[in-house]
Structure formats: C-alpha cells, structure tokens
C-alpha cells in the first residue's frame, strides 16, 4: 500500500504496539511488519483497518475456501487499556455465506493478550499441508502440528493445547469439528467467547488451522496514563449509573426478555409471532433463579454481563458462559422451547461443535415451521418429530448439524437460505435470513431505521451493523419514516467506530446510541493523544463503512442484495402491542433510497459514487466496480 506522502512512520505507544504478525501457512514463514501511523489515522484499527488491508491483499471473486482468502485478526487501540468494555476485536475473512468481507467480533481476553505479546493484529494466509496450530509466545511464534487435535471439540482442543504448552493461563482460539467440515456458520471459540458469525471458523478450517494460542507478558503504552485513568474512571462511573446498562450486571443480556415479550417484540415460532406464552420460564430472572452461579467479565469491563451457569445433572447437564439473550431467543422463543436447562445444553453444544448459535437455532426453527406445515416430513427429519416446543428434538437435530450428519443435519448445516432453496415448496418465504446470515433476535417490523440498517448492513442479519435502540427506547418516533435513512447511517457510524477502537456495543448508552458519542471520541483521544473532533471522527467512520461497502461492490453486489426476510415484508406482527407492524417492499425501497441518498451513494446501484470515494480518500477503489 502506498502512503500519501511517500514516508511512513510506524506508530508505537498511543495504544498501539506497532506490529502486525504475518503467518504464511503455505510456506511456514512467519514475520512481522510495522503498523504505520497514516494507516491508523485513516482507519483506526479493528474492523476498519482490517477492511483496508483486506482490500489490498485479497482479490475479489475468489472462493472463500481458497488459500487466497486471508484470515485477519485485528485489535483496536483501546484493547489492553482500562477503558470500560475495551475487550472487543475482530476476526475477518471473506465469508462463505455472505460472499464478501465479514468482520466477526469477539470479546474476552484474546485481543488484549495478543497486544501484550507485541502485535496489534495478525494476517494468516495460505493453507497448511496438514492440521496445525499457531503458538504465539511473546516474540516467539511457532506453527505446530495439530493432527492429533483434528476431530476434537473446541473444548478438548483448547485443553489439550494448554496442557501441551504447560500453561493454564494462555488464551486459545479454536475451531471445532464444524469448522473442520466447512459448515456455513462455523465459528471460532476464543476461550469461552465466540467470533460467532459469518463462517469465519469454516475459513479457518479450510486453512487447516485448528487453533491459535497466545501468551503475552508485555503491555500497551499510552502517552498520558493519568489522563487515561481519569477518563476511564469517569466512563466506569457512567457504566455504573446509566439506567439502560443496569440490569446487565444482575441478569446479563436476557434482562429484558420479559419486557420484550410484554411489548410484543419477542420473536416466537420462527417469527410467526412476537409473543411467547412460555416466556416466564426463560427470562433473565428465571435464569438467575435456576442456573446462574456467578458473573464473568471480559477484560477491563465493569458491566459483568456474562453469567456462569450450571445444569448439574439430567439430560441437559451442561456448563456455559451464558445464556445470552440470543440463546434464549433462538433456541427458546423462536423454537418455542421454554425449558431453560435445554437452552443451556443447546448453548454448550454450539460452543463444543463450534457453530454459531444464532444461525443454528434459526435454522432449526425454520425446519420446525416447515415440519409443522408438512413441507418437511419425518422422512426428511431422520424420523424426528421436529415440532415447535420439542426440546429433545431440537437438541438431537442440533447435534446432527454439529456433526454435519447426512440428512436433516447436513441440510440445516447449509443455512436457511440454501436449505430453503433445496427444499423449495415455499419455505424460502420463512427463511429468516439476509445475505445468508440468520436473523438475530431483534425485530425490525415496528422499527424502520432498524429495518433499513439490517437490509443494507454488510453482515446481513446482524444486530451489530444497526441497533434498534434509538427506536426501541423512544428516543426517535418509530412510526415516522422520514429521516430513518440518516439515523441508520449515523448508527452504522458509531458501531463501526466502536468496532475499530475495540469497544463493546453493549456499552451502547455511553458509546452511542444515535451517533458517535463524545465519550467514544474522548476515550480514543485519551489513548492516542490525538485531538479528533466529532467531524473528523465521523469522517473516519464514514471511510470505514464505505471501505467495507467497496469490498461488497467489487464482488458484484448491488442494491438488490440489500433485502429483508420475506416474512418481514409480507406478514404483519399478528398480535400484541405491535400488532400490524410490517415493513412492506415499497417501504423498504423508500427507506433504501433515503439511506443511499444520505450516504451519497448511487441510488440505482446502492454503491459509493466516485465523488464519495474521492472525498474519503478511497479513490483507488473507483475502477473496481
């Protein structure tokens, strides 16, 4: 990549350690390259920086499982500091599902540890001849034989590597058998946190890379430690006193299951309705009473939203970090299962096999609906009575998916888009996916900004390219269409800026929720000693978002790819306080016009115009689509 002025200065201190690790699995070569200041000034880190590197290094239109695809892990400048919620980083690749660049976000401890080992990120390229794992021990990096680990679950592989290294405190990211088999929604489990979405685990498996382990004994430098300390103190105080964050510590992300059901926005029976009669058994309150044994937190986070839960015995015996809201939505209300212990078992199985629980659960709920409507029969389900509410059937099918077992397991392992194409019979009308990614548990039928954000988001059915919070909190009027394109854009911006800094979206009330907040900018300025204004920060975020859109555009995707699940456009919510809510096709197209126009994109193609790319310093992409 050419610099603007021909001279490049490595950035060190200011929250960056200044090096990118590069591992070539074809040749077995390992090296490190400087991280340059001009690059982070334009893209900061995390998702934005990874997208920029990806644009230069990975050609368009390759197969996601080709050796030319690269796996990029990228941290942000706040990772490893005391700023609250600063544990998030991204694992990126061309997704086998969306067909474009995908940044899968994860929390926990891996990212700060990687920085402590001396790397802001790593680029993994090529394909190993046989299964290997990567061991990063500060400045010493090895590619180790992993043939003995192939075929093992994530949990077993992680434990085996810790034993092999002789250190229980290293951090390990591993795929399970699903990643090895190339499942469409295979994930990477980093200790107990997941880079869950987009099939990055399958890409890792295609490279014969079973795991990555890291031990770092260094640290992250900042120019003004007391300045950062004071900023972090103030932000931690905000975390502790902001009403919309309270409750996460007590109940985790399921804190609002009951109230969502009360408002008529708890997705149920594959989104046929949004009110679940079994809700009271799967609330955050019920979870706390029945199975939660304690709290866990990602590094530097004072929210403690992760719950440690145990089902001590019985058919659903399990130990998990969770359950998170998405587990309760996906395996609970969406499959109409109101048995909390069964949800825990499902959560554990997803981690064990290495599959994304949102996609897995929505695939099963799709199959349940198809089964109840006679579009799938017992012959198709391997004899399983796959009706809604059948917890045992759900678990049995989930295990078949994890093993990619011929029959219903292998069918659902392809994801709802492909499974519906294979089955036909109109099942695509209730395949709850966008860009091949199954829908997270946040409705958009009553929320137009949320709808256009989901539709235009690079990651399809991801609730992290848009947030429903502005409309769900009443900060803006959900019933008004005007201005919703602009709102979605500004929400995109605070999210991608957070994904580039390394912040968790669950800190939304202080980092967002309507646009990039001063808290975000002040945290970044404190760490980097920059003096970014709001306009400058917004420009960076806009550049990041457009960079990712360019990656999609050069794959050939246009406006038509920005869709919603058919159900959301054709079937109003049938009951409850949100009864009648729907985003019709006409409404969606109007919202997309509004969105593209506000972005300065071509409304016909939905892609950035040459003028916009020039404005953002992305003119190198003009001729690529």
């Amino acid at each position: 990549m050419q610099t603007k002025n021909g001279t490049r200065k490595q950035i060190q201190g200011q929250g960056y350690v200044g090096w990118i690790l590069r591992v070539n699995l074809d040749s077995g070569t390992i090296g490190k390259e400087p991280l340059y200041e001009d690059l982070v000034r334009d893209f900061v880190g995390g998702a934005g920086l990874a997208a920029r590197i990806f644009y230069d290094e990975v050609p368009a239109k390759i197969d996601a499982f080709a050796p030319e695809n690269k796996l990029i892990m990228m941290t942000g400048p706040v990772n490893g500091t005391m700023v609250p919620t600063a544990s998030r980083a991204v694992l990126c690749a061309k997704s086998p599902t969306t067909g474009s660049f995908f940044h899968s976000s994860f929390g926990g401890f891996f990212a700060p540890e990687l920085k402590a080992a001396g790397y802001d990120g790593m680029i993994i390229e090529g394909k190993a001849e046989h299964p290997v794992y990567l061991w990063i021990d500060d400045g010493t990096v090895e590619i180790r034989d992993a043939r003995h680990l192939w075929g093992q679950s994530t949990f077993h592989a992680q434990a085996a590597i810790r034993k092999e290294i002789g250190d229980d405190e290293i951090h390990v990211a591993s795929i399970g058998v699903a990643g090895e088999a190339g499942l469409a929604y295979a994930m990477v489990l980093l200790d107990m946190r997941a880079a869950g979405r987009g099939g990055v685990g399958a890409v890792m498996g295609s490279k014969n890379l079973k795991a990555m382990a890291v031990r770092g004994t260094g640290g992250v430098s900042v120019p003004n430690m007391f300045g950062v300390y004071n900023k972090a103190q103030r932000l931690n105080d905000l975390v502790a006193t902001t009403p919309a964050i309270q409750g996460l510590s007590s109940y985790g992300t399921p804190r609002n299951v009951a109230s969502m059901n009360d408002a008529g926005i708890l997705p149920t029976r594959n989104w046929q309705t949004e009110v679940f009669e079994g809700m009271q058994n799967i609330t955050g309150e019920a979870m706390k009473e029945k199975i939660v044994k304690g709290n866990r937190a990602c590094m530097a986070c004072s929210i403690n939203c992760t719950k440690y839960s145990v089902v001590p015995d019985g058919p659903y015996k399990s130990i998990i970090n969770g359950a998170d809201y998405e587990t309760i939505y996906g395996f609970g209300s969406c499959c109409a299962v109101d048995n909390m212990e069964a949800l825990c078992k499902a959560d554990e199985l997803c981690d064990e096999y290495g599959i994304d629980l949102i996609s897995a659960s929505v695939c099963i709920s799709w199959a349940m609906e198809a089964y109840e409507k006679g579009m799938l029969t017992r012959d198709d389900t391997d004899g399983i009575d796959l009706r809604f509410g059948n917890a045992d059937a759900m678990i049995e099918v989930l295990e078949k998916i994890g093993r990619n077992e011929p029959g219903i397991g292998a069918l659902l392992a392809k994801g709802t888009r492909e499974a519906a194409r294979i089955v036909g019979k109109g099942t695509e009308r209730f395949a709850m996916q966008n860009k091949g990614i199954e829908w997270a548990g946040h409705t958009c039928r009553p929320f137009p900004a949320c709808a256009v954000g989901y539709a235009t988001g690079p990651r399809g059915g991801s609730h992290h390219d848009i947030r429903p919070t502005a409309e769900k909190s009443g900060l803006v009027d959900r019933k008004v269409l005007e201005g919703k394109g602009a709102l979605a854009v500004e929400v995109n911006h605070w999210l991608i800026f957070a994904d580039s800094m390394g912040l968790c979206h669950l800190g939304e009330p202080i980092w967002g929720p309507l646009k990039i907040s001063q808290n975000q900018i002040e945290a970044l300025n404190a760490i980097t000693d920059w003096n970014l204004s709001y306009d400058e920060a917004r420009k960076i975020a806009e550049r990041q978002w457009n960079m990712i859109r360019c990656l999609s555009a050069r794959e050939g995707f246009t406006r038509d790819y920005d869709q919603l699940p058919i159900r959301f456009m054709e079937e109003p919510i049938p009951e409850g306080p949100m009864k009648g809510s729907v985003i019709s096709r006409e409404t969606l197209e109007r919202l997309k016009d509004d969105y593209y126009e506000y972005r300065g994109w071509d409304k016909k193609t939905g892609n950035p115009t040459p003028a916009k790319l020039k404005e953002l310093g992305l003119e190198f992409a003009i001729d690529d689509f």
Binding site: T241, Q246, D262, E285, P468, S473
Partner: protein
C-alpha cells in the same frame, strides 16, 4: 390517613369535594422489579390521571432507589424507554401526559439491543 375512594364507586365523580381515584396496575421487570420487590404494583392516582401521575406515585413510594433506575445523570433527564399503556406503546420522554383510566396497566420497556 388520606381518604381514598375507588373510581366508579360513586356515580358522578366520587364523594362530594374529593377527586375520584383511578386504580392502576404497574408491571415491573428486571431492575425495576428488584426495587419494587414484586412483578405487579398497584397505585392510585387522581382522576383524570396521566402516566406521569403513575410515575410520580411510584417515585413517592420507592424513592431514590427507583429514581436512579429511571434517571440519566449524564443528561439530567429521564432515561428514554418505551411504555406500554394498556395495549399501546408510547414513549417516556414524550408521552407522559397521556391519560390513564381506572383499571389501566402500565409497564416500562427498557431497550435491549444485544447479546
């Protein structure tokens, strides 16, 4: 002790010289339920009552513990959330003046966007 009468008990607006009362049920979730110690709390407000009156009655009863769950210190304003007023969804920062009848139900719906 304040004399209270049930709305509708006396046709014509209650006892002479006294406002009729509306009995309203408040449904609590999560941290609000923790403060109140129950899923449902019944309150009385003068008729014609508003959602704000219900809020005031709750604050009078549960004091600072409740207030800190509803108040955004950074903005020095009530935190934004949706409110279910019977079968309708309204907004905390804009619709507190909406009237509520005897036998009505109110619930606060805090936003959730993650997990």
């Amino acid at each position: 002790m304040q004399l209270q009468t049930q709305a509708g008990a006396s046709p014509g607006g209650g006892l002479s010289g006294m406002a009729a009362k509306a009995h309203v049920r408040f449904k609590a979730f999560s941290v609000i339920r923790d403060v109140m110690g129950a899923e449902y709390v019944d309150v009385e407000v003068d008729q014609p009552g508003t959602v704000q009156d219900v809020m005031d009655a709750l604050l009078a009863r549960f004091g600072e513990d409740l207030r800190e769950k509803l108040w955004d210190r950074e903005e020095n304003a009530m935190t934004p959330f949706l409110i279910r007023l019977n079968d309708e969804i309204i907004r905390s920062r804009f619709d507190m003046g909406r009237s509520i009848e005897d036998g009505g139900e109110v619930a606060f719906i805090f936003p959730i966007g993650g997990g």
